[in-house]
């Protein structure tokens, strides 16, 4: 049915939809297929970082698909006996660390971003563009510079510690840099605008008379917020959370610059496999699994979300 509809749409519309579609196909699907292809081969022989997929042996074409790279993500090899067992590999740990910090960052962005977006959406129409500009202003500076700036702020002799020591709250400077704290601060700082903008977009469309109706029917402001504002800004909450969560899972730069040695995230592991161990197939397999980690819950949500939406409109 979808294909039929697609064929009936106006040629102009087909073009407008088609161009971004082709763009995504080339720059997302094709690299992904290359990744997938590398992930099912062996390590190469030095000249090539990975073995060819197809080989002609004795006049017949052989396609070799190796799932070893995927198994190694979940299987631990006992160093003494060489026996293999399912276990806590460093890869699984890295995945869990990544998901944990991505979740924490998303929650922090939501907690900080929601009141902020709400404030902008309720501000006077004339000042809203200026407030939005403030949200986007950091993008005018290089991303790396901004992350480096946090080093200066959070270092042992940095701004925060100096102020705290000077004010007498602490005697010794706190270990802020290269820890969970600095990493979360950095990621929350960088990704917060991605949470604020979609939230603002839904909150600005919210009819505030609905809140008056809720008060009128006996809901306190807090109750009205939970029963009316939050459900009606669900689309913005989901969009913002995805925009923060997805890049956070694979984030590499911020953990490397601000994170400690103990919180190895998956982005770092992929980097190491790729450039230190030169094990392209395993790095590819790790990346593919990471994409699955993100895509599967998204697809499930989309499926049920769309179904609910359709049910509501009938």
């Amino acid at each position: 049915m979808n294909i039929q509809r697609w064929l009936h749409v106006h040629p102009g519309r087909r073009f407008v939809i088609g161009v971004p579609f082709v763009w995504l196909l080339i720059f997302f699907v094709v690299p992904f297929l290359i990744l997938l292809r590398i992930s099912v081969t062996d390590m190469g022989n030095g000249v090539n970082p990975f073995a060819p997929l197809m080989q002609a042996v004795d006049g017949s074409l052989h396609i070799m698909l190796k799932y070893q790279n995927y198994l190694s993500i979940f299987e631990e090899v006992d160093k003494g006996s060489g026996a293999k067992a399912w276990g806590q590999t460093i890869y699984l740990e890295a995945y869990l660390t990544s998901l944990k910090y991505a979740c924490l960052t998303t929650i922090l962005c939501l907690v900080i971003g929601y009141p902020f977006a709400y404030f902008i959406a309720r501000a006077k129409k004339s000042v809203q563009p200026a407030l939005l500009m403030l949200v986007m202003l950091p993008f005018w500076t290089s991303f790396l510079l901004r992350v480096y700036a946090w080093k200066g702020i959070l270092a042992d002799q940095g701004v925060v510690n100096n102020v705290l020591v000077w004010a007498g709250f602490i005697q010794e400077p706190l270990q802020l840099l290269y820890s969970d704290v600095s990493m979360l601060v950095g990621m929350t700082y960088v990704y917060c605008p991605f949470m604020i903008l979609p939230l603002y977009a839904t909150l600005v469309k919210l009819d505030f008379r609905l809140l008056e109706a809720a008060y009128d029917l006996g809901a306190s402001p807090w109750k009205a917020f939970w029963l009316i504002t939050v459900p009606l800004s669900k689309a913005g909450i989901i969009a913002g959370s995805m925009l923060v969560f997805i890049p956070c899972v694979g984030e590499f730069v911020i953990p490397s610059l601000l994170g400690g040695a103990e919180n190895i995230m998956i982005g770092r592991v992929v980097w190491d496999e790729m450039f230190s161990s030169n094990n392209w197939p395993r790095a590819s397999a790790l990346a593919v699994v990471m994409i699955l980690f993100i895509l599967v819950p998204m697809a499930v949500y989309n499926h049920y979300g769309a179904e609910r939406e359709a049910a509501g409109k009938e």
Partner: protein, 367 residues
């Protein structure tokens, strides 16, 4: 009478209510009294302060000065969620993410009513507005008229002591509006709730309300029954605002206890009662178009008789409207009911016509 209501006490009282926004006075010293079970309309054009007054009653605005007494209790400082008052919004403000059943149940749940009672009450309300079959639908799946009934059911569900209606029929088209206004009054009366409604539509106010307060620039100019407002306006604004009217400025020339004469630019108007003013004082005569007779032949009367040329004719089906230009260029609007099918057909453009009215019909307005 005009600024202060004649009723000394009432179910809902506003006392010298004032609301200022920065330097704009939206509500200016309004004192009205509303009886229990009454449908009271605040009528005025946009920006006259009627909506602000309603929002003060609902609790969305705090008055700058004055008191609001409901059943003797000053509620001016109560937040909206602690008032026994519910409002039907102009936009209906139905919660788009909740179905009809949950919309109606919203207020009851906030009260902490037990689920079994909520169920009974919601079903009763949906029955009242004949939407039982639509309980599981979302608001956007309903027509405008159905949404309006949901809004009404939701605002009545908590059995409020006072129901506020903000332009209750404003979002409906004309045909549906006429049908709905009687239906609405019927439902309100069957529930027996006291109502304050806001409207800019005089027809809506006249058909629905038991009493009307005409507002302009934040002030209440006249309070009265629809008939009083229409037939006996007490000032020029009310006379001009409600329906069509012909206004003539003049001076009092004869004033006896049972008759008076007022000299206007086009002649002398005779009135069948005394004014009790001083000779020469400026007055305005107001005559409704339907109170004026029109004819091509000279009638057998000699007072309040004028003549002119027909400039425009408007045919409105049930009545025709003539715009007659007098000798000095002054125009007068006259309407004639089209009682039998071929009446008035003899009067046409540029005809010379006579028009006159009874001595009892003009309203005299003092300045």
């Amino acid at each position: 009478m005009n600024q202060h209501d004649s009723h000394p006490s009432g179910f809902l009282l506003t006392e010298n209510l004032v609301k200022r926004f920065d330097d704009v006075v939206a509500v200016d010293d309004v004192s009205i009294s509303i009886q229990k079970g009454e449908i009271f309309a605040l009528l005025g054009s946009s920006g006259c302060g009627k909506s602000t007054l309603l929002r003060i009653l609902a609790g969305f605005e705090k008055p700058t000065a004055g008191r609001v007494l409901l059943n003797g209790l000053d509620i001016a400082s109560f937040p909206p969620y602690e008032r026994p008052i519910n409002m039907m919004f102009q936009s209906y403000a139905l919660f788009p993410h909740l179905n009809i059943w949950d919309n109606v149940a919203f207020g009851l749940k906030r009260e902490g009513m037990p689920p079994a009672q909520i169920k009974t009450r919601v079903e009763e309300m949906l029955e009242l507005v004949q939407l039982t079959a639509y309980a599981k639908r979302k608001p956007h799946q309903l027509s405008g008229g159905q949404q309006q009934r949901v809004a009404l059911a939701r605002s009545l569900a908590k059995k409020p002591q006072l129901l506020l209606l903000d332009e209750p029929l404003g979002a409906l088209d004309k045909k549906l509006r006429q049908r709905t206004q009687f239906e609405l009054v019927h439902i309100i009366e069957s529930v027996g709730v006291t109502v304050v409604m806001v409207t800019h539509d005089q027809e809506e106010a006249m058909t629905m309300a038991s009493r009307i307060a005409v507002m302009s620039h934040g002030r209440v100019l006249q309070v009265g029954t629809p008939q009083e407002i229409y037939e006996c306006p007490t000032n020029r604004f009310v006379a001009d605002f409600i329906g069509n009217i012909n206004l003539f400025d003049g001076q009092l020339s004869v004033d006896e206890h049972d008759r008076s004469e007022i000299t206007i630019d086009q002649g002398v108007v005779h009135i069948d009662h005394g004014i009790g003013g001083s000779i020469g004082m400026p007055l305005t005569i107001a005559v409704r178009p339907e109170k004026i007779y029109i004819s091509k032949t000279r009638p057998n009367v000699n007072v309040n008789l004028f003549s002119g040329k027909v400039r425009e004719i408007g045919y409105f089906g049930s009545y025709s409207s003539f715009i007659v230009e007098m000798q000095d260029g002054r125009t007068v609007v006259v309407t004639e009911p089209n009682g039998s099918r071929l009446e008035n057909i003899d009067i046409t453009w540029d005809d010379r016509v006579f028009f006159w009215w009874d001595e009892a019909d003009p309203v005299v307005l003092t300045h």
